[in-house]
């Protein structure tokens, strides 16, 4: 089963291009530039060099022995995207799009960020290439992710607080789109997830596919075969689609996406689009969407800013409907538990986003002895230390 969008960027009934007319021409320009770059061996060479020497690829596929023993059952491997430069998988896409911006002669970059990981990756590549950088971030997320705000500013980015709506990722995307509409001739919108209008979902996926390609090679070396299941958290879904995509045609490999269950399954308390949402159009694409009966987009909640979004990448919607991938959710509390367990058994503090994927793997592991699981550990937990401290007050005692 090959998963590619049609010429209009549709994954089955999802995806497409739903934007004000002003943005149609720049999207077409981006699509053409990307198509040319893909055919250009020099582009791929330059990107590979940056992946290796700037970002730190390939990342290890690590057998988490003590974690596996602690939970029993399946053998759990971690794909260590948390070890990449800037602390998460986001750098893969930021590097790719920055090279495209250079190709298009755009000197100004804008981006949205939720947890701040995409913002930090974008600020880093802008410093690297000498590009002017503005990051839109919800005021609420700036509060939750102070450390990342400072990291971005340290690398020269202008971080703009977004004070509209829920003051989280969705509103940051809206503000970035408004900026792009206004400054379209000079500016590239470096979108950070496999979301938005064509070609973004396909292009962002392609830049993260390296995660799955490496995993396939590494698990073959370690186990002589494919894994039985792959787990990844799904906000917009970029780390998940990156590791899933090279395995989509391997029907025996279960692909498991983990959404944010937040604090409960009532609308407004979570970001589980597949169990609580229905198809709709938000921010340029058609996908599953948390919305009310009148088509207004719902508020969402997750302890993890990076998963706190009302819609999901359109290719995930298509994988969901074809039942090629399974989607489930993990609550705030469960994610925190998983983070503690991984910290204690392996000495690895995960990002709260990634902890959602870890939780589902350790939940399922006892039922699958003899199987091989891979978890995409998409980011590290440094940025979440304040949240961990708030929730683990006993550790702060004198």
């Amino acid at each position: 089963m090959i998963s590619q969008p049609d010429a209009g960027g549709h994954f089955g009934p999802y995806g497409g291009r739903y934007v004000p007319e002003v943005l149609m021409s720049p999207l077409e320009e981006l699509e053409i530039t990307y198509a040319e770059a893909r055919q250009d061996p020099k582009f791929q060479e330059e990107l590979d060099d940056l992946y290796k020497n700037f970002a730190g690829r390939p990342t290890p596929l690590y057998h988490a022995k003590r974690l596996s023993e602690a939970v029993g059952g399946a053998k759990i491997y971690l794909k260590r995207e948390d070890l990449l430069h800037t602390g998460a998988h986001k750098i893969n896409n930021a590097l790719g799009q920055a090279l495209l911006a250079k190709r298009m002669g755009k000197k100004r970059i804008i981006a949205e960020t939720g947890a701040g990981q995409h913002g930090v990756a974008t600020a880093s590549v802008c410093a690297l290439f000498g590009l002017d950088c503005t990051i839109y971030m919800g005021e609420e997320d700036m509060r939750r992710q102070k450390l990342n705000v400072f990291r971005m500013r340290l690398m020269g980015a202008n971080v703009q607080a977004v004070t509209i709506g829920s003051r989280t990722l969705k509103d940051a995307i809206s503000e970035a789109m408004r900026d792009w509409v206004t400054n379209v001739s000079t500016t590239h919108y470096l979108l950070g997830s496999a979301l938005g209008s064509h070609p973004y979902p396909m292009m962002v996926r392609d830049f993260h596919r390296v995660i799955g390609v490496e995993t396939k090679r590494q698990i073959l070396e370690a186990e002589g075969r494919n894994p039985d299941a792959i787990f990844a958290c799904v906000g917009g879904g970029s780390n998940a689609i990156g590791i899933f995509h090279p395995f989509i045609e391997d029907d025996a490999v279960r692909l498991v996406g983990v959404e944010a269950g937040g604090r409960g399954m009532e609308l407004g308390n979570h970001a589980a689009r597949f169990s609580g949402g229905s198809p709709g159009v938000l921010q340029g694409t058609r996908s599953y969407l948390l919305q009310d009966d009148d088509g207004q987009v719902s508020l969402t909640h997750s302890v993890s800013a990076g998963l706190d979004y009302a819609s999901v990448g359109p290719e995930h919607a298509w994988l969901h409907d074809r039942q090629r991938a399974e989607y489930c959710s993990c609550s705030d509390k469960e994610a925190l538990e998983a983070a503690v367990m991984l910290s204690r058994t392996e000495g690895i503090i995960p990002a709260l986003e990634s902890a959602h994927g870890v939780w589902e793997a350790i939940r399922q592991a006892p039922a699958y002895p003899g199987q091989v699981f891979v978890v995409n550990l998409s980011g590290r937990g440094d940025k979440d230390i304040d949240i961990y401290r708030e929730n683990l007050k006993e550790l702060d005692a004198e």
Binding site: R17, Y18, V22, M24, S25, M177, G280, D293, D294
Partner: protein, 263 residues
């Protein structure tokens, strides 16, 4: 032909440039809107764009965003806006164009909206984020119900896209004067006139221009070039600040349209 088509025939016969006015329905309450529309009609509005609020209005500036928030808080839905339109129709024959984003309309249903909008006397619809590429499912039921579908063109639109938009549009074509979101500007964008010229090569449909038009001088300059001008944020701001002066406010803005016939 809808009231929109008839309006542009009348404007042509009178050699006059029309005044299109946007307001967010339900701001600050659904009950207030019909009264505002009546004041705007007395103040010189020829066509009303009735905005349906959406939670994530990516093409709108702060003035219209805030109006949408107020309207949503007051319980304004697509169904409610249809009731508002029906109330306006009791006393007025002014052409009404429904103006919103796709998602509320998808949720309501294209077929159902086409039927219900026609029934309450709405004349057409414009969806800001419906690109012509994705518009087939929406355009077909609207046209079948006898409603106009208006689309936007922008200074960034290529000749190919201008042609495509002209094919999907009926009633008129809405020209966005500049790259950017809705909001008031000091001067007209340099990109406005070249866009009008390029669009004339593609279509015989009437052209209306909006985005950033907020002063009598803008109106005076544009009236020689387009069949109608659109005013939005300036009106929405006036409603927010002092709705009792709405009629007088629009009359001042529209004054240049009545000082001399178009040559």
């Amino acid at each position: 032909m809808t009231r929109i088509g008839k309006l542009f025939e009348k404007l042509q016969a009178e050699k006059r440039c029309g005044m299109i006015v946007y307001l967010t329905a339900g701001d600050p309450t659904p009950e207030a809107t019909p009264g505002f529309v009546a004041a705007l009609e007395r103040g010189g509005a020829d066509l009303i764009e009735l905005g349906v609020p959406f939670s994530d209005p990516i093409a709108d500036g702060p003035v219209i965003q805030k109006a949408g928030d107020r309207a949503l808080k007051a319980g304004t839905t697509v169904a409610k806006v249809l009731e508002i339109a029906a109330a306006i129709r009791k006393t007025s024959e002014i052409p009404i164009l429904l103006f919103t984003y796709l998602n509320p309309v998808i949720k309501y249903g294209f077929e159902k909206l086409a039927a219900d909008a026609k029934a309450v006397g709405i004349d057409g619809c414009l969806l800001t984020d419906a690109s012509v590429e994705e518009a087939e499912a929406y355009v077909a039921p609207m046209r079948a119900a006898g409603l106009d579908t208006v689309f936007l063109v922008a200074p960034t639109s290529s000749a190919r896209r201008l042609k495509l938009v002209a094919e999907y549009s009926s009633g008129f074509v809405y020209m966005v004067s500049r790259t950017g979101i809705t909001g008031e500007q000091q001067t007209l964008s340099d990109s406005a006139l070249p866009l009008i010229e390029r669009m004339r090569e593609q279509t015989k449909l009437p052209l209306a221009m909006g985005f950033g038009i907020s002063k009598p001088e803008h109106v005076a300059e544009l009236k020689h070039h387009v069949e109608a001008v659109v005013i939005g944020s300036a009106i929405v701001r006036q409603i927010e600040e002092d709705s009792t002066q709405l009629e007088a406010f629009l009359r001042r803005l529209a004054a240049p349209l009545h000082t001399a016939a178009i040559s």
